[in-house]
């Protein structure tokens, strides 16, 4: 009885660690940890797909996170939260119509670069070069910020 009580106390003591030991995986090709929780806030650390971040706290649609030596914010839709739970990962940014279960678990599986390469070999006439051009022709963050300000739109 005594030892069982001790074990229960141990679990209770460790419970906060299990609840708060949260991490998140970056699920976009590239993103950034920002100084404060706004889209155009200065970047404190660039992050890439599958980078692992420590969650400090939620901040509305953002999470305060730690990445290596940097601390800052990242938007909830750029990460997949991994909680210390056996019930599986949670998806903070996927409330509506999502079928995804866990980006981390599925990373690189299914339709991945290897499949695209084979598909392109099979259909060389497909206009992938134009798709690459579209993806390359990015508008910069600064240009978007100026466009928003110039048109009197709301600062996101």
């Amino acid at each position: 009885m005594k030892s069982r009580t001790a074990a229960i106390i141990l679990i209770i003591l460790l419970a906060p660690v299990l609840v708060f030991a949260e991490q998140a995986t970056v699920i976009t090709k590239e993103n950034a940890v920002r100084e404060y929780c706004r889209f155009f806030a200065p970047v404190v650390a660039p992050v890439r797909y599958k980078d692992l971040l420590d969650i400090v706290s939620p901040q509305g649609d953002w999470f305060k996170v730690r990445y290596k030596a940097a601390e800052g914010c990242i938007h909830k839709t750029a990460i997949e939260k991994r909680t210390a739970s056996f019930s599986g990962t949670t998806l903070p940014g996927k409330g509506t119509g999502a079928v995804s279960e866990s980006e981390a678990a599925l990373a690189g599986k299914g339709f991945n670069p290897q499949v695209e390469v084979s598909y392109r070999k099979k259909y060389p006439a497909m206009r992938y070069s134009l798709v690459d051009d579209i993806e390359r022709d990015k508008v910069s963050e600064k240009e978007v910020a100026l466009f928003i300000a110039g048109g009197g739109l709301n600062q996101p």
Binding site: L52, V131, E135, V139
Partner: protein
Amino acid sequence: MTKRITVFVLLMFFAFHPASHAIDLGGIAKHLDTLKSVVGATAKATRPISDEEEYYLGRAVAARILGNYPLSNDKDLMKYVNLIGKAVSLSSDKPFTYGGYHFAVLETDEINAFACPGGIIFVTEGMVDTATNEEELAAVLAHEIAHINKRDGIAAIKSSRWTEALAVIGTEAVRQYSSSDVARLVTIFEGSIDDVFKTLVVNGYSRSQEFAADESALQYLARSGYNPESLDAFLKRLAGRGRPSGGGITATHPETADRIDNITGKLPSVSIDPQSIQARTARFMEVREQTR
């Protein structure tokens, strides 16, 4: 019993505590992850799809659309459409996708727009010409962004393809596939592209998907500072033109009049600064003049 509980608690502690990586116990968590993913993938009858996969599917769908329509070479128009689209996407439910949002213009008089899974959105020159101001063009893009947010393109893929894909990836925990697995996945990939392409370009989305995308578009417009009434105005103009041929936004199941009815009474109330609208309309006219 106590021993067992203690071991379990310690395992939980080391496997999930952030510091466990630092003391090289990350391997345990990794193995648990792998185990969890294999079990999870196998357990699901209808397979989940990751944002990364959605991205690769979307690229293929975009490549196929570009086989049907030439890409505009008007760099100024492309940039302008990208700036509007980016501004709206930041106020959407999903500002970030795996590969990001990219907007492009197709060189055709057809009045159309297509949202490829993952974030590539096409609008036609005909669509741009039909819009009378930046607000309306933003409304079109907001509607397409909503389809991406809701993964409507992905929903077009037959569930049998997911079951089939599951058979290949469900037992495979590694990133590299054997050549026979790749061949099977390519076949499923092709079929999935067909499903999405047909929905986007030929059949259109379902009535409920279109209504939901319009409703979300109203919210995105309001949040970003555009006038949500512009969607109503644009749809009314489309309705006045009758039903053109082609797919996408104009070949959807609901008649445009039904879409107008659906959003009536749902327009979010916003305060719009007339001077800002003037500034936006001025830059719209400037870009359009250049393109003519």
